[in-house]
Symmetry: C2
Subunit: 309 residues, 2 copies
């Protein structure tokens, strides 16, 4: 029942000369998604953004930028390279490609190094490892080009591993409903006024896209015991909200990563959990990137798992 | 300069009917070692044991048992399967195959699952994961056959990652000597009276086999920055010795695993380091196995590493 929930992510910002990315239409974006071995399940649109829920995660397209997340053993680098064939290099203002901490990186079709080598042949950039190679870490490649993000251009990624308790049991059990999961995630409190598009997978697993104006949020839940993973990502300003704390309370992860791009300070430690890794990197493309890895004290005592052939 | 120091390990105990394993001679054991893509560098013998230092780690052969460790991208499962061709299944009293926590498991030629599937086709056994898949962990396969270890049959493995400080600098620098490394490891204090055979690799890296009666100890040092790894393994009883503490003091690892088979209790936490994972498993083959993962507080703050294509 192993499934690699952790995602690869690509984000691109284009110049006005590239034309509207939204107006390239669903057919174009379906083609991009197909290159990653995924497909579009739902579409949600407002004045700013088209949010596509995918068979493996999400794609958000604004006029001048897109971001795409794909999990499992999808080949997001292929989708990125396909997009690059359809835009002039000089019209790209910013581009990044990330790989989040994988449970079983040897089961992936390519390594980050291989992805990076292929991307570098099209786009000159720099790549970094944040965190420790033998603990949680994050890989990022970004285009070597100065960029000046707007003041409200920030991203927070909360990546939760080993969810526990009643919420986890509900997500793993039979008979979950979309309403039940929305309630568990307290969406009415954390994303008030957002339009939602979500999907319940069989036998379990859940994805959500949410948009409000030019703000977005997305959830992807892989509840499988031994390799559970829940990601939450948003461009909301999380300062003065208790969103992160509410999600930790609802899902009780044994460990989690918090990644920020020009985003507010990470969670404060308390008696319940510790910060094991902190890594800060001002990227030359204009974003200050932070990577923090946390572990809950409940995660210390681990049962051995019998493996089957 | 990446090198995977962490080892795979096989250990086998045979019945008297299998004959003396030592008397199979160096030619036979060279053949076993070659199957793992390694070769014998030195031989050290006493009344009980032949200790072979390998191009990638170590092989110890007693009359009725052997243990072999190999690092890098060696194929120890092949060596194990080759050995199994040369002994009757019913003459094997105990067999185990371990894989230690790898920095970059996707660079290995096979996964533990693949190794296990091949071994299982020759030897019916059970396999476990101890620790968390997304943190340090240890894989073990063992033969499904009851075995009663002797009272002094215990093994401790101390696996150190991210070594720091003067010791680490010396090991990474130019002009190390065997004498300098022996002094750094305080071998005269921790292994008094042992016969030693050691090897300094180019441009750095160090291996040591040590024997005294039927007791053994072995060190393997991969000092490379970003992926440093030092393993120490012994069948000495470590209760009432300060060996572990002395090694942690000399090498200042950022994190480490302590694995025991019928071995004394793990290190006590203190203000300097925490135990992040503890996992206990009574194996049905007669050994109580413990896996403990520790992190030093110095390991929390990590610098991002730029990757090259």
């Amino acid at each position: 029942m192993f499934f690699e929930g952790s995602e690869k992510k690509v984000e691109v910002i284009t110049a006005a000369e590239a034309g509207s990315l939204r107006s390239r239409g669903k057919e174009f974006w379906s083609g991009v998604v197909a290159k990653a071995q995924a497909e579009i399940l739902t579409t949600l649109s407002n004045d700013y953004c088209d949010a596509y829920l995918l068979s493996e995660s999400s794609l958000f397209v604004w006029e001048d930028r897109f971001l795409m997340l794909t999990c499992g053993t999808t080949t997001l680098a292929d989708a990125f390279l396909y997009f690059l064939e359809h835009v002039a290099d000089e019209h790209i203002l910013f581009a990044s490609f990330q790989r989040k901490n994988e449970y079983q990186s040897h089961l992936q079709k390519t390594s980050f190094q291989e992805d990076m080598d292929r991307i570098q042949s099209e786009l000159k950039g720099t790549a970094f490892l944040l965190g420790s190679l033998d603990s949680h870490h994050n890989y990022i490649f970004h285009l070597d080009r100065p960029y000046q993000p707007a003041a409200n251009d920030q991203t927070s990624e909360l990546l939760m591993y080993h969810i526990k308790g009643e919420g986890a049991q509900y997500l793993r059990g039979e008979g979950q409903t979309i309403e039940g999961i929305r309630k568990l995630l307290r969406l009415d409190e954390i994303l008030p006024g957002f339009e939602l598009s979500d999907w319940l997978f069989e036998p379990f697993g859940y994805s959500l896209n949410a948009i409000k104006g030019d703000r977005y949020a997305t959830f992807h839940i892989t509840p499988q015991e031994e390799s559970s993973y829940v990601s939450f990502e948003t461009n909301l300003n999380l300062e003065d909200t208790a969103i992160l704390e509410k999600l930790l309370e609802a899902l009780r992860p044994g460990s989690w990563d918090l990644i920020g791009f020009n985003a507010p300070a990470p969670l404060r430690e308390n008696g319940e959990f510790s910060c094991l890794t902190e890594c800060l990197l001002p990227l030359k493309c204009g974003y200050d990137m932070s990577f923090n890895h946390y572990q809950h004290k409940e995660q210390r005592s681990v049962q051995a798992v019998e493996l089957t052939g």
